[in-house]
């Protein structure tokens, strides 16, 4: 998620193109082309070998099935199996629930924090920024384990709720299908909100202050300023962060495995965890596992097409 994020962000920034233009004037087009090819040939080769080749192989694999090394081609059987597989459907449903609830929640929170932190009158600004961004530097496994203990039956959350009289009996968060999902959503929101906030903060720096000034003179309230100026100005970044978060959530694995391990039952299992289970937890069926992987690929492709459509890229 993070890698994708930085790549995309660079493309969006206008600074890069100006820089390239100035370079073009200084060096000959022919020389630049030659050198340019030399530079990218390495990446092309590396991407072909380490990305495209495995992708093609995985695609072929998705039409095979069998135990371990005894794979054979079964045509579309894996795809048929997919739609009648209750575990896969549970995994897909859960992942969709995470997407639909967590991504909007996080985007709104990140926007909210970034606007607050952008206030020029705010004191200890860098302290708050660091505090909100800090979760992003924690290891996925480490914070998952912490969340698991926070929400354990003897955990601090239960103690707190009990001592302040919010509940009369401890809630077994991780053994309850509903609460387990809530914990997962809380955890990922905590981990990724600061990450998205940084994008908004950066974008907010580029918003011309005079627009706000003019709005204030016209008597616009803070709410009006937020919805009429801030949100429209940040629209491309909001779109970008929602798509990267969507892709990240589609691939969610570490949190699920470490907090609930997919349980109770299959109440929190994600697609990625199911792929892992099919490959390593059960008698391995790498063919069917690749079929499930390709479902993620298809979902990501569909969502990326939507992004390009909505963002209205020119090319």
């Amino acid at each position: 998620m993070s890698q994708l994020g930085t790549k995309k962000a660079e493309v969006d920034l206008p600074v890069r193109t100006k820089y390239e233009e100035s370079r073009r004037q200084k060096t000959g087009v022919f020389f630049k082309k030659k050198v340019g090819w030399l530079f990218i040939i390495v990446s092309i080769l590396a991407i072909t070998i380490f990305n495209f080749y495995p992708m093609v192989q995985a695609f072929l694999l998705s039409f095979q099935s069998g135990m371990g090394a005894n794979l054979e081609y079964v045509g579309l059987d894996n795809w048929r199996r997919l739609f009648g597989d209750p575990t896969f459907i549970a995994a897909l449903t859960n992942t969709t629930i995470y997407l639909l609830i967590q991504v909007p929640l996080m985007i709104v929170l990140a926007l909210f924090f970034s606007v607050l932190l952008n206030d020029p009158k705010l004191k200890f600004k860098s302290f708050f920024r660091i505090a909100i961004f800090l979760p992003c530097v924690t290891s996925l496994v480490a914070y998952s384990v912490v969340f698991k203990y926070l929400f354990g039956i003897d955990g601090i959350i239960n103690q707190f709720l009990l001592n302040f009289g919010f509940i009369s009996q401890t809630i077994n968060f991780l053994a309850d299908p509903f609460w387990a999902k809530v914990v997962i959503i809380l955890a990922i929101t905590w981990r990724w909100t600061g990450y998205n906030m940084i994008f908004y903060l950066a974008a907010l720096q580029n918003v011309d202050k005079s627009i706000y000034e003019a709005a204030r003179i016209d008597g616009a309230s803070s709410f009006q300023q937020f919805f009429q100026i801030t949100v429209p100005m940040l629209k491309p970044i909001i779109l970008f962060t929602s798509i990267t978060s969507t892709i990240g959530t589609l691939q969610i694995f570490d949190e699920i495995v470490n907090i609930t391990n997919g349980g109770p039952g299959n109440a929190t299992i994600s697609i990625s965890q199911y792929i892992y289970n099919l490959s390593f937890e059960y008698t391995p069926d790498f063919g069917y596992a690749s079929t499930v992987s390709y479902v993620i690929v298809i979902l990501v492709v569909i969502l990326s097409i939507i992004q390009f459509r909505v963002a209205g890229e020119k090319k």
Partner: protein, 432 residues
């Protein structure tokens, strides 16, 4: 200059790739290694430094054969071992594969069948009669013995004698009982002491697994692959008993290992029905010394059920790569034939093997003060021999994941027959 370096890198990666695919063909063509190359170092993988790694180190000391080679013991997490074996064996490359590897019994059949020819048979190397029957069933395939049985997963009921006394029961009252009797005692214990009788983890059906093995039944039929869920009376009884325990409110619900251990270490539960490998964890609470006893596992109230079961346990396997003769030689001269080694294992690391001739040794007869002077190892090893042998087959964990969901439905009030039929249907659809 830089260009050439990078080109070289690219070319090198191409070459590596080509090497991988050629290895693939070689493996699918037959065995990975024809002819026996003489190697002077073999590698062994296991996962627990306090247990099976320590056992390997002890075995190195105890080796009394005349082979001349080094044994390199490497610790990997169990999940990593499974991943490395799966990825390595399915890609056909034997590079980086160990010579000896420890595999959990529940997973053994899936490895043996998923990668035929990847393991070296030990049929002529060890004497199967020397090991507990139930271990042989899970470590052999297609008439060949592949595994050298290692630790016993014999299950037992660890009880708090002081809590029992408070409720008016003695150790005899919980010895050789059925689960129904256990639940009744549990209710009384809870009334007298306020403590739960046991912990249950709704996401882990280990309890049900132990119950059904007392009657020689499993999730799959004898063939090891046909799901045996709907109409499996033993499993029905297991599910009913599980629900009874939940309904009787004698179970503390936990959701992971540390909560499970924490519950009995802190004195929150009156008994722990589980595998004997829990002994060191029980003993961690030194202040509870003398308050514990170990009795045979309760049985299902059915014709033919016995008070002996199993949970977990693992065995050694030799991979069919260069050095397999040395690896087999090492195993034969240590775990395969050396009763003294098993004495050391019991004394030093508390590991109970399944090698029958070892049971006569002195270390097995030691009285354990923590358990009120009980001859724990002798008892456990007697019960090991009574464990009904079942074929764990290929799909223990796959079926259990479906069963866990079924158990949730059942506990929430669904009809048992409907639940099990639906699990059967799902399992058949998934395990083609």
């Amino acid at each position: 200059m830089k260009k050439f370096n990078l080109m070289f890198l690219a070319a090198a990666s191409m070459a590596t790739l080509a090497a991988c695919s050629s290895g693939d063909e070689e493996a699918s063509g037959g065995s990975g290694s024809e002819g026996s190359a003489d190697v002077d170092e073999i590698t062994a993988w296991a996962w627990d430094p306090a247990f099976n790694i320590a056992a390997l180190e002890n075995a190195k000391e105890a080796y009394n054969g005349d082979g001349d080679y080094e044994v390199n013991v490497i610790e990997n997490a169990q999940d990593d071992i499974i991943q490395k074996l799966n990825t390595g064996l399915s890609s056909g490359t034997t590079n980086g594969m160990p010579n000896i590897v420890l595999i959990e019994d529940y997973r053994a059949q899936s490895f043996l069948q998923a990668y035929p020819d990847a393991f070296h048979p030990l049929t002529d190397v060890i004497n199967s009669d020397d090991f507990a029957d139930y271990k042989i069933a899970t470590t052999s395939y297609d008439g060949e013995q592949y595994g050298l049985p290692f630790d016993s997963g014999v299950a037992a009921l660890y009880v708090r004698t002081d809590y029992l006394e408070e409720a008016g029961y003695s150790v005899e009252d919980v010895t050789d009982i059925t689960w129904q009797e256990y639940i009744e005692i549990g209710k009384d214990v809870k009334e007298a002491t306020g403590k739960n009788m046991l912990t249950l983890d709704p996401n882990d059906l280990a309890q049900v697994r132990m119950m059904i093995q007392t009657n020689g039944s499993w999730y799959v039929e004898e063939d090891g692959s046909t799901p045996n869920i709907a109409g499996n009376e033993t499993l029905e009884a297991g599910f009913e008993t599980y629900k009874e325990m939940m309904d009787a409110d004698i179970a503390k619900i936990v959701s992971d290992w540390s909560q499970f251990v924490g519950a009995f270490n802190s004195g929150d539960v009156a008994s722990v029905p589980t595998g004997n490998w829990i002994t060191p964890s029980v003993k961690q609470a030194a202040d509870q010394s003398g308050n514990w006893a170990v009795v045979p596992m309760p049985r299902l109230d059915m014709e033919g059920a016995v008070n002996a079961s199993n949970l977990g346990g693992s065995s050694w396997y030799v991979l069919n790569v260069d050095g397999k003769e040395q690896a087999a030689d090492f195993l034969l001269n240590t775990f395969g034939s050396n009763p003294d080694l098993y004495q050391t294992l019991v004394e030093d690391i508390g590991a109970l093997g399944t090698y029958s001739p070892a049971a006569e040794g002195d270390a097995y007869a030691v009285e354990d003060e923590f358990f009120g002077g009980q001859q724990l190892i002798t008892d456990l090893s007697t019960w090991t021999d009574e464990i009904p042998a079942v074929n764990y087959g290929l799909h223990t964990y796959a079926i259990e994941d479906i069963l866990v969901t079924g158990m949730q439905d059942y506990l929430n009030g669904a009809e048992l027959d409907t639940v099990l039929e639906s699990v059967q249907g799902q399992a058949e659809a998934q395990l083609k």
